[in-house]
Amino acid sequence: MTPPDDTDRLQVFERGDAIEVSPARIEAELAALWRRAAEARPGQIPNPVTRACLWNLVVRVHGKDDFTRAKKVIDDLAQRIPARTIVMRTEPDQPEGLRAWVEANWRRREGGGPASGSDEVTLWAAGKAVERVPSLVRSLLVSDAPTAMFWTTSLPSPGPIVAELIHQADRLIVDTRKLGDERGLGDLCALGLREPELQLADLSWLGISPLRGMCAALFDAPRDPEVLERLDRVRVVSNIKGTQARGLLALGWLMSRLGWSETARVGEEQGARAWKAKRRDGKPVALELVTDPGGDHGVAGLELHVGADVWSLQRDTSIHVKGPDMPPRSQPARSHSDAELLASALGSRGRDTVFRDALACAAALVQS
């Protein structure tokens, strides 16, 4: 990100590359660049450009690798949802400094020309300058557009700087499988309790949405969902890189929907954890989470048992569905990129109230 010569700035902007600007002049520089992009070139007709924004998306990254990954996700996201994205990279332990870059994320028209674009601002703050970031972010938020904070690999840590940012957010988006520690589920749950108005979205939770849909479909009419009240064993096979948050959330989802309580851990062997819980009718139900290092599907298997009857979803390249009195079938399985999940988190699924219930149960499993 070297500062381009002034004469090249417009071309750099139109390519979608970053231009370093003074942190105090971010809005003014963006406005000037957009205006120039729309101006007629000598001998050409004016070039209509549309600057679009449905969300303010504040992205918190840690370190260079995380920054590179996040930028890729943001570029992909920009093709789905126009947002003013503000990427914050803070390094409090480094010598003081504050720098800013602006760029446009273009959605190209067929044939090449820019059709519409959205703003991306990158802020790098080090040392004491980190304290100036919240006020800078506040000044950059587009009015009347909702604000989402995306913490890529961590949870917002306690403290006045983060608290101020969270206070400005309508939605907090995290990815619990990248938290590094499953106890982060409990921390997120606690944050949700402290901030009851904040919408919580989790890319891991959204990643298991198709599985939840397929599992629910096993008990849709004409079948009797009453059988769910008699489940006596649930087994989840989880094999995603990172924490096993997806598997835990799948168990938490079933627990919260079926009213299971009094969870207690009954065993842990290498790669397998077991709990028992109490059903609504007071009878026991066994829960098992098996970690299979063989893949990266998230939840690779889900089994629901009532005595000898078993309903199962097993994933390889397809999802194989089996159940008593139903013919076995396979459904297509598709992986979702982080950008797809992030786009989903910015949609109506990002305010899924069931998530908080499932999260609380998943956190209870970790803590028990």
């Binding site: 949405s209 849909g213 849709d220 009419a221």
Partner: protein, 516 residues
């Protein structure tokens, strides 16, 4: 059907997964099945919006083995699906549920074979007996098929037990009498809430957005009446001619083909009162009130021409390409009186719309393809900027235009001061475009409508009484035209905005057609 709620469905409502179902398509060898229906079903399967078990049974005259029918459907899906090429793994799962039954629609034995096959499929694939029958045949076959389905015991009219639904393609009748007869036939074997009269325009995102725009925003409804709105223009313009469909069009004409269904639906959605809820009966009740509030045309045929103008295109150029005259199209009579253009001036006799004319126009071989609803607001009551508005701009009102196709979106035109030392004003548009704001590819109209039918949601389908109310109005025009001398056709050149008489229809009121 009284059912215990599935606790795992909570929070998954957005997924809208219907119950296991078999869809039977009558007219399975037809164009609609290949171009729209099966590709739409595949796209739904790809988006995981179909139930876990879903079957398609094609019914048509020719004898074809299941496998050959599947191959034909795969080829069509590869050609027409929104997302293509088809994924082989997904197609395998999807096509395992595709079957074919041959037979003529008049023959009771066809339905007995179909019944037996459906029972086998239900048993083998655990479909539970839920069925959707899709009538994608010539309209003359609709009453026959409905009657035969009833006679063969393929319709469960009882609300308990497996669901049976029937989708009927447009046109639903060709006049009031035939529509009433078809409704009578349908209601003989089906409940109204089992009947889904499809108008694919209602599945378009922008059309659905009319309701969201009007009723989810507090700012428009206070302005949405005769106090602030001067008039409304509805345009359905096609740049193509009849392009080989002359035989069909000779039986229809644009009044039946466009106005009775699509345009009257736009009119209803634009003019209706707020429904108590976004649900089928509430929405359709309000739409029906609009149709019933339309001011009747004069009884004298000659006077009808003061409100309705018809036209037929002659030779001309559209987008630089020569277009032959309608009467030179194959299958069209050399002295055809069939209209390819119609413009109407309607009045809605209720409190909201008293004094607000609705101008509708639809035509073929017009300069461009565009469908839009334009709300023309009244001008500012006192023109303090008279000198600042130049020429005809002085007469330009604020216009809210809802573009249904192409380049779907909404724009509001208002005046702004031109930067500079003088008070010069120019109209500027404030625009919302789907393509700009939402990156997601919108589903095809048929995807949305088929999914709604599978879920039993009739909000975006037309109810029987709506259809009859619209035909009542169209019939009056057709009868007046039949009583008048032959029109002087062709009266507009392909590639122009219609006949001069249509301009006069609106200009006599001191207004002009938009050039969208």
């Amino acid at each position: 059907m009284d059912e215990k709620a599935n606790p795992l469905r909570e929070g998954l409502q957005g997924e809208r997964t219907p119950a296991p179902t078999t869809m039977v398509i009558f007219g399975a060898s037809g164009d609609l099945t290949k171009r729209k229906l099966v590709p739409a079903l595949y796209s739904l399967a790809r988006d995981r919006l179909l139930p876990p078990v879903f079957n398609v049974v094609g019914v048509a005259r020719r004898e074809i083995p299941d496998e050959k029918f599947r191959d034909a459907m795969k080829e069509a899906t590869n050609k027409y699906a929104r997302r293509r090429p088809v994924e082989d793994g997904l197609w395998k799962t999807f096509s395992d549920g595709i079957f074919y039954v041959n037979g003529t629609f008049e023959d009771p034995a066809t339905y007995q074979r179909l019944k037996k096959r459906l029972e086998e499929i239900d048993k083998d694939r655990d479909t539970g007996g839920n069925r959707v029958f899709y009538l994608s045949t010539p309209p003359s076959e609709y009453p026959i098929i409905v009657k035969q389905l009833g006679a063969a015991g393929l319709i469960n009219k009882d609300k308990r037990g497996p669901s049976t639904r029937v989708i009927i393609e447009k046109p639903f009748g060709r006049d009031l009498e035939s529509a009433q007869a078809l409704n009578k036939e349908v209601h003989g074997v089906l409940r109204e809430d089992q009947t889904f009269r499809i108008d694919h325009y209602l599945g378009k995102e922008t059309v659905q957005n009319i309701l969201a725009f009007r009723f989810a925003n507090g700012i428009w409804e206070p302005l949405w009446n005769g106090r602030y709105i001067d008039h409304v223009q509805l345009t359905v313009a096609e740049s193509i001619g009849v392009e080989g469909r002359g035989g069909y069009f000779e039986q229809a004409g644009i009044l039946r083909d466009m106005v009775q269904n699509h345009m009257f639906q736009f009119l209803c959605l634009s003019a209706m009162e707020p429904p108590v809820a976004f649900e089928a009966e509430a929405v359709r009740d309000e739409k029906l009130k609009v149709l019933r509030s339309l001011r009747p045309l004069p009884t004298e045929p000659k006077d009808v021409e003061k409100f309705v103008v018809r036209g037929q295109y002659g030779r001309g150029f559209v987008n630089g390409q020569e277009v032959i005259a309608y009467r030179d199209e194959p299958g069209v009579a050399k002295d055809s009186r069939v209209e390819t253009y119609v413009a109407l001036k309607l009045s809605i006799d209720n409190w909201r719309w008293a004094g607000v004319p609705f101008y509708l126009r639809a035509g073929k071989a017009l300069p461009k393809r565009v469908t839009e609803i334009a709300i023309h607001f009244k001008r500012a009551p006192h023109a303090i900027f008279g000198q600042a508005l130049r020429g005809r701009l002085a007469d330009e009102p604020n216009v809210l235009s809802i573009r249904i196709q192409p380049d779907e979106g909404i724009s509001l035109k208002f005046f702004s001061k031109v930067p500079g030392p003088t008070m010069e004003l120019l109209p500027v548009p404030m625009e919302f475009r789907y393509g700009t704001s939402f990156g997601a590819e919108p589903p095809e109209a048929y995807e949305r409508l088929i999914l709604d039918c599978l879920l039993g949601d009739g909000t975006l389908f037309t109810r029987g009484d709506e259809v009859e109310a619209s035909w009542t109005w169209i019939d009056r025009i057709e009868k007046a035209w039949a009583a008048l001398p032959a029109p002087n056709f062709p009266n507009y050149a392909a590639g122009t905005w219609g006949p001069k008489e249509a301009d006069r229809l609106i200009e006599d009121d001191g207004r002009v057609w938009r050039k969208p």
